[in-house]
Amino acid sequence: MHTELWSLIIEKTIFGVILLAAIMTGAAYVTLAERKVASWFQDRIGPNRAGPLGLLQPLADGIKFFLKEDMIPKNVHKAFYLLAPGIAAIPPLLIAASIPWGNQIELLGKAIKLQMIDLNVGILFIFAFASIGVYGVMLGGWASNNKYSLMGGLRSSSQMISYELAQGTAVVGVLLLAGTLSLDEIVKQQDSLTKWYVWRQPIGFFIFFVASLAELARVPFDLPEAENELVGGYHTEYSSMKFGLFQVSEYIHLIVTSALISTLYFGGWQIPFVDIASNSSFIYGVLGVISLLLKTVFFIFVFMWLRWTLPRFRYDQLMSLGWKFLLEAAFVWIVITAILVLAFPWYKTWF
């Protein structure tokens, strides 16, 4: 009992440290990718000074964040002001912990699951912590004691609350088909290209995707930090690493959301025509991880693509889209899926 427990603790600790390091590095490089993609879309060169092809830019940015003077404006509510960036950074990391990054790899004669926590309420866990993310934004906006910050914080939190509903409702279609809340199980069921849930849940996927865009507060839904109206939104008063933490948490959220979309609708770590689930050798496990990472990178690129292509919505348009269209569409889609599942058994088994 005790050796088992200790080996579990050691295994999870090592995996957790690796995951944390990978996610943090990933987030740093996504910022670089964003700038590179932007420059590509706008026919510029983009950052190319630090290191070859500008590859050391994230490192330079990180050092700059840490070395900048740490300003605390005079009229802020100090405790909450300091707490907000921390609260903002925790939920995306916890979501990352519950995503199955791969099937399993065999190391030292021990099968190691490439998922920190496999819960039987996995999706609910993710939505639980996604909803906690609102606090960081709200507190940051309010504690800054600045009108622009407050407006940004209010916009941001009401937007997150509104689109969370559409997001959560859209997923129900997948759950009806999968019959489980465990993400690992959902991935295992999509074991061939035709069984990816996106083919059976196209509308659900579309709603989930749009709602994720709004959750991430990215163009065309980036009203929380609409520069021309609100200066910088809820993080106007933040500087140095406190601002950096908001920024990093935003990009971790981007990575995690892309991974979640791949997991739910595009087969997660499955590779078409390759059977990974029944093969536990090291190389297959690594291939699975690479497969999920490629899908994730693709979706990150799509998010950036949209950002540098589309204009911004107006705030009332954003709210009426969320409440008067997406949510209803998601409800209707649940009913349609439920009828299909009950009336046509082949819809569930598929081919």
């Binding site: 707490l83 309420v121 609910l124 939505f127 639980a128 606090y135 609350i161 809340l181």
Partner: protein
């Protein structure tokens, strides 16, 4: 192991509950209450009620407390009236209510058979998962479940009816004038 986790989670819950009622700043109280909900959710997990734990965080910590925080932030509660009359009435109501709660708690604590309840009492580790809970709700408890649904639906209709506003638009001298007035 479970005992250690239980003790840690209980201490977190009790400590944060004490902080909720002792903070002067209402925003701090709300945040401590959110923290308290996490402790409670942890206790639910220990009892095998995974679904309940997740829903506890989604509904209470993620939705209701956000609403509380909105209200508290917007109201700036430092300006709450300090009149003596209000204080006396408020205190006496508080004393009566907390006295009744004390009686209720004492009764339930005295009559509960703790030895049977705590530690290793959960025979079916799966009882609180979404699957088990769902099949119970849609078979044994279908009618109560539906009634709760109707209640919530009625509440939603009530909110819409209360918040509904009549918007009239008219054009005067080429300027569109919109007027809003409460219906309810």
């Amino acid at each position: 192991m479970i005992k250690i986790a239980f003790i840690i989670l209980s201490l977190i819950s009790i400590f944060s509950a004490l902080m909720v009622i002792s903070r002067k700043n209402p925003v701090a109280s709300v945040l401590w209450l959110v923290f308290h909900f996490f402790g409670i959710a942890g206790l639910y997990v220990l009892l095998g009620a995974h679904f309940l734990a997740a829903v506890q965080i989604i509904v209470y910590a993620g939705a209701i407390m956000v609403l509380f925080l909105f209200v508290v932030m917007m109201l700036n509660l430092n300006l709450v009236n300090n009149e003596k009359r209000g204080k006396i009435i408020g205190k006496s109501i508080g004393a009566v209510v907390s006295g009744l709660v004390l009686v209720l708690f004492t009764y339930s604590i005295r009559t509960t058979k703790w030895n049977e309840l705590f530690f290793n009492q959960v025979t079916d580790q799966e009882w609180g998962t979404a699957v088990k809970l769902g099949s119970l709700l849609f078979s044994n408890w279908l009618v109560p479940f539906q009634i709760v649904g109707i209640l919530l639906f009625a509440a939603v209709i009530g909110v819409v009816a209360l918040m509904k506003r009549k918007i009239t638009r008219k054009v005067e001298n080429g300027i569109v004038i919109t007027q809003e007035e409460d219906v309810a």
